[in-house]
Amino acid sequence: MKILLQLFAAFARVGVMTFGGGYAMIPILEREIVDRHGWATSEELMDYYAVGQCTPGVIAVNTATFVGYSVAGVPGGIMATLGVVFPSLVIITLIAGILTNFADLPAVKSAFAAIRVCVCVLIFNAVVKLWKKAVPDKAALLLFLLVFLFSVFLDVSPIVFVVLCAVAGIVLTRMGVRGK
């Protein structure tokens, strides 16, 4: 029981300290998991993080489930995951509640009109950064362009693209066009 509460608390701290998720999370995970509790070594933690990236869902959540499971089985996985999302639930609900009351003020509208411009730039930068890792060759470039164009011009669920591209990845690899 104690270990479950410790997992919840440790991952709640990871959730609070992480702005934006992704790589920003690694030093905080190191401190909580490796230094403070000794639940995993640095190498194991990197393994968990790597698997967290190549399984579906939010990376921080996947990593939490993994560490929790390895420390205390299925209940551990669940408690660590609940811990990592708990701060978001509290903080976002508070902020969203406040913002809903002020959303119609002219100053708030102006602020958000400008913030949306900033969001465009942040998404653009994220795409550029992801692109470098995700598009290593011509076949991957073709997949990127097809997904981009079809999802801009057609009203298709992203799920369709995800399933087709997973199959395409396997077929293209078997055809030996990967890396060319």
Binding site: S88, I115, L143, D155, C165, A166
Partner: protein, 192 residues
């Protein structure tokens, strides 16, 4: 009750099919906005900004926000649980075979296709934000004047932010929250 089930199901699908973390949930949220009408594209852009500027993983923050604005506090909890359920199930299933999974050539090959897919989907969703943030399509449709299509202040700010986040050494490593807050101040000062 139906709304809660629907929220859970929509976010369950998002959790199961979004690959690559962070922004990867974005295309699913746009799809959700178009299909359910729970929130508009503009609202979604605002939610992204709040999710980037508050603690916690972006994907989780966005689920909580969408859930809250759709169905209150319980909605926030249910959307978030929907998002994390597939992660928990998948991870618990493969935890025992971690090494075999990572080295499996089919998994590796599938991800070779999934990575460009994820970037393509995010880029397409980003284009929708560009459309509402930098352009004024409604005004253009009503007046027909090409210059009405552009939002000059927004375009200037976008250019400035692009330079600051990519080309200026002193500012490009700064946390996004600084750019979001500065934009908010400029937006109020210059009445965007």
């Amino acid at each position: 009750m139906m709304l809660y089930l629907r929220l859970f199901w929509e976010f369950f699908k998002t959790g199961l099919f979004s690959v690559g973390g962070g922004m990867a949930t974005l295309p699913f949220l746009y799809d959700m906005s178009a299909k359910t009408g729970w929130f508009s594209t503009a609202q979604l852009a605002d939610m992204i900004a709040v999710s980037e500027s508050t603690p916690g993983p972006i994907g989780v923050n966005m689920a909580t926000y969408v859930g809250f604005s759709t169905a209150g506090v319980l909605g926030a909890v249910i959307a978030t649980l929907g998002l994390i359920t597939p992660s928990i199930v998948v991870i618990l299933l493969i935890a025992r075979v971690l090494h075999a999974f990572r080295q499996n050539r089919y998994v590796d090959a599938a991800f070779y296709g999934l990575r460009p897919c994820s970037v393509g989907l995010i880029a397409a969703a980003g284009l929708l934000v560009v459309k509402i943030a930098l352009f004024n399509v409604e005004l253009f449709h009503s007046t027909g004047a090409f210059l009405d299509l552009l939002r000059p202040k927004a375009l200037l700010l976008a250019a400035l932010l692009l330079v600051l986040t990519n080309a200026v050494k002193a500012t490009k490593k700064l946390h996004p929250i600084i750019f979001i807050l500065s934009s908010a101040v400029l937006g109020v000062l210059f009445s965007f």
